[in-house]
């Protein structure tokens, strides 16, 4: 007798989604799907708008990573203008991007994932939330708030606003940095780095406890896609595309981001509003790859900052050889990247040219097509626009980090469901693990589509006739 288990909505992620597990006669998992259930349509309603509005419009896709959209969009506009932005303008853009990475990764680790990591997958779901974490480890919770505050303060100091800054503009940034602001931001760095190092050290003590989860949380072989610097170092703002296979062999390297269409195809499925990007040479769905912190650390030769490079070496020790396969280790990679971001921001703020007044190149549109690519906290983000003679947008394609991971997320929930879900004895902890593997990817469904309002959580086990045979509810 075939049955379907539905987890809706998936909690502690950005946006709304549903997971369905199809069970066979013996209660075994036959299929698993991750559904993005809302449609937003940014690619469509941006058509007809002046291209200079695109950074502000596309930034509204998300309240967590608007800076990423602002950067990718402005880079697409830079491309339309055919300008190279002044070096100081680029460095300032890098700082705001790293500040966002810090606050976003902090949210993912401290707010969304720490309830599972600290309180346990099978703990009482009533208290397995941020309030449970606050009661269990208030210092950790305060560290999370402070780290986010540091990231957001830097975004506000540079961009004027915490959530949707307008300081990044086509051609660079609108204002140079003042010494007063530079000094204020520099003062935050030591405290931020101490919190990041303290949290990293704490998490390392937790990792051995999760050996079983690490083995089953999306450890399937996939390729990894990210930007790398010309030296092969960690890169979040510019650089080139690198793609490694599951064995660590480099399949594509130093590919200019403007050539992304040569590498990436996009498929659609009828069960989700999220696209399914894939590596074209391997076809769909075999061209499965992952992006984000795990992919970035797997792809680079070095981070390029002292503490982060030590942490990177420890990251590679999580597995005997090859790229780190388990998606559970996205958490680890995120903490390494927070350390890197704080070290790199400190370095950039101390750069003697950071107060230079030349921060913007000015031009009108000089081409009809622009592509902007940057690393968002969750992975590589691509904005691609076409415009007409009037500068009005005629076509938009956005490939969001969460979309790149779509195939991998679907495969991961299948793997976790196979390992933990017993259809004959449905337990909340089993289903929490299915949700938790999605949280490893820290998907931003608000970016990938849109959500408005909240839905109650109901998990129902139905028989083939649609009769509900078991139900679990939260909230």
């Amino acid at each position: 007798m075939s049955r379907t288990v539905t987890i809706e909505p998936v909690t502690r992620i950005e946006g709304h989604a549903r997971i369905t597990l199809q069970l066979g006669d013996a209660g075994e998992v036959e299929d698993a799907k991750f559904h993005l259930t809302q449609f937003r349509g940014f690619e469509k309603f941006c058509e007809g708008r002046p291209y200079r509005e695109m950074p502000a419009l596309t930034a509204r896709t998300c309240g967590i990573c608007p800076v990423s959209h602002v950067l990718a969009s402005n880079k697409a506009c830079d491309h339309l203008l055919s300008v190279s932005i002044p070096p100081t303008g680029e460095k300032l853009r890098r700082i705001i991007n790293l500040a966002q990475l810090t606050q976003s990764h902090a949210l993912s680790f401290f707010h969304l994932s720490s309830p599972d990591l600290l309180l346990g997958w099978d703990s009482d779901p009533v208290s397995r939330n941020i309030f449970g974490v606050m009661r269990q480890d208030p210092a950790l919770a305060k560290d999370g708030i402070r780290l986010r505050q540091i990231g957001q303060t830097i975004i506000e100091t540079l961009g004027g606003k915490k959530i949707h800054p307008t300081w990044v503009v086509p051609g660079g940034v609108s204002e140079p940095l003042t010494q007063e602001k530079r000094d204020a931001m520099l003062k935050l760095m030591p405290e931020g780095l101490e919190i990041a190092k303290r949290t990293y050290a704490f998490f390392k003590t937790l990792v051995p406890k999760f050996k079983d989860e690490a083995n089953h949380f999306g450890s399937q072989p996939t390729m990894f896609l990210s930007l790398v610097s010309p030296k092969g170092h960690l890169e979040h703002y510019d650089g080139f595309l690198r793609l490694k296979d599951a064995q660590g062999r480099i399949l594509e390297d130093m590919v200019p981001p403007h050539e992304y269409e040569r590498l990436i195809g996009e498929a659609v499925e009828d069960f989700s509003y999220m696209k399914f990007p894939y590596y074209k040479p391997h076809g769909y769905p075999n061209g499965i790859y992952r992006v984000g912190p795990l992919a970035r650390l797997n792809n680079v030769d070095a981070c390029g900052t002292p503490y982060a490079d030590v942490a990177l070496a420890e990251f590679h020790m999580l597995q005997e050889s090859g790229p780190i396969a388990s998606s559970f280790h996205y958490h680890y990679a995120r903490l390494v990247e927070i350390i890197y971001a704080l070290e790199m921001m400190d370095r950039l703020l101390k750069d003697p040219t950071i107060l230079d007044a030349r921060v913007r190149a000015r031009a009108r549109s000089n081409r009809y097509e622009g592509i902007g690519v940057a690393e968002a906290p969750r992975g590589i983000l691509m904005h691609h626009y076409r415009i007409d003679d009037e500068g009005l947008v005629t076509w938009v394609n956005l490939i969001i980090a969460t979309g790149h991971n779509n195939l991998a997320m679907n495969q991961s929930i299948r793997q976790v469901a196979d390992a933990y879900v017993d259809g004959n004895n449905l337990q909340e902890g089993m289903l929490n693990r299915v949700e938790a593997v999605i949280r490893c990817f820290d998907p931003c469904l608000s970016c990938a589509s849109h959500a408005f309002g909240e839905m109650p959580l109901a998990i129902e086990l139905k028989d083939a006739s649609g009769r509900v045979v078991d139900t679990l509810r939260r909230g």
Binding site: P9, T11, R12, I13, E14, G15, H16, F45, R49, A56, L57, R60, C62, G63, I64, P66, Q103, L107, H111, L112, N129, I130, F131, M134, R135, P138, A141, K142, G144, I145, R146, R148, Q149, Q152, K161, K162, I163, H164, S446, A451, E454, M455, L457, G475
Partner: protein, 181 residues
């Protein structure tokens, strides 16, 4: 609260909402108006697209917090003011938008301190994307919202508690329409 205490009051005003979704922008717009007209010493005004976790660190530094928001339940243009208290059950399933009562619960749980908090809201009627203007009814609600805020930050005018609706528990999620000042 005695007069001396009121004069030392540290007040934080947070207007929040999306500037590209029509009437949802009323909170930040009222905050911007307050900022432009000037506020007394000890009063800080900020605008936010959404409420996020790190705001907790700002909340606990203030004695009184006033949230400004758009509402969807009620008659368009209707202005309401209510007191808010911590409510851990007001948790969002998403992390990029928090309920003000959840933020207050964070304050209580982590810092054992909760500022006196009010929510001044105006009911909107149009929340479409790519819409940068308020409807006329929402526009007309700006001045009544400002009146409420001026009263709440004026040390010489004790808070008119008789006019306020408490909303510290889930039972009062739907605020009662109130008389404007």
């Amino acid at each position: 609260m005695d007069q001396a205490r009121l004069e030392d009051l540290k007040v934080l005003i947070i207007g929040y909402g999306s500037p590209i979704r029509g009437d949802d922008a009323i909170g930040p717009l009222v905050a911007d108006r307050l900022q432009a007209e000037g506020v007394p010493a000890g009063v800080e005004v900020v605008s936010r697209h959404i409420l996020t976790a790190e705001l907790v660190a700002d909340l606990v530094e203030h004695d009184r917090v006033i949230f400004l928001d758009a509402a969807v339940d009620g008659t368009p243009g209707e202005v309401r003011c209510r007191s808010l208290g911590p409510d851990a059950s007001a948790m969002s399933t998403m992390a990029h938008f928090l309920d003000p009562r959840e933020l207050l619960a964070w304050c209580e749980t982590l810092y054992d301190k909760v500022p006196e908090t009010f929510l001044v809201s105006a009911c909107g009627s149009a929340f479409d994307y790519s819409n940068y203007v308020l409807t006329p009814t929402a526009e007309a609600a700006i001045e009544p919202m400002l009146d409420w805020v001026r009263r709440l930050i004026d040390p010489s005018t004790p808070i008119p508690t008789g006019l306020l609706q408490s909303a510290s528990s889930r039972e009062t999620d739907t605020p009662v329409p109130l008389q404007t000042p």
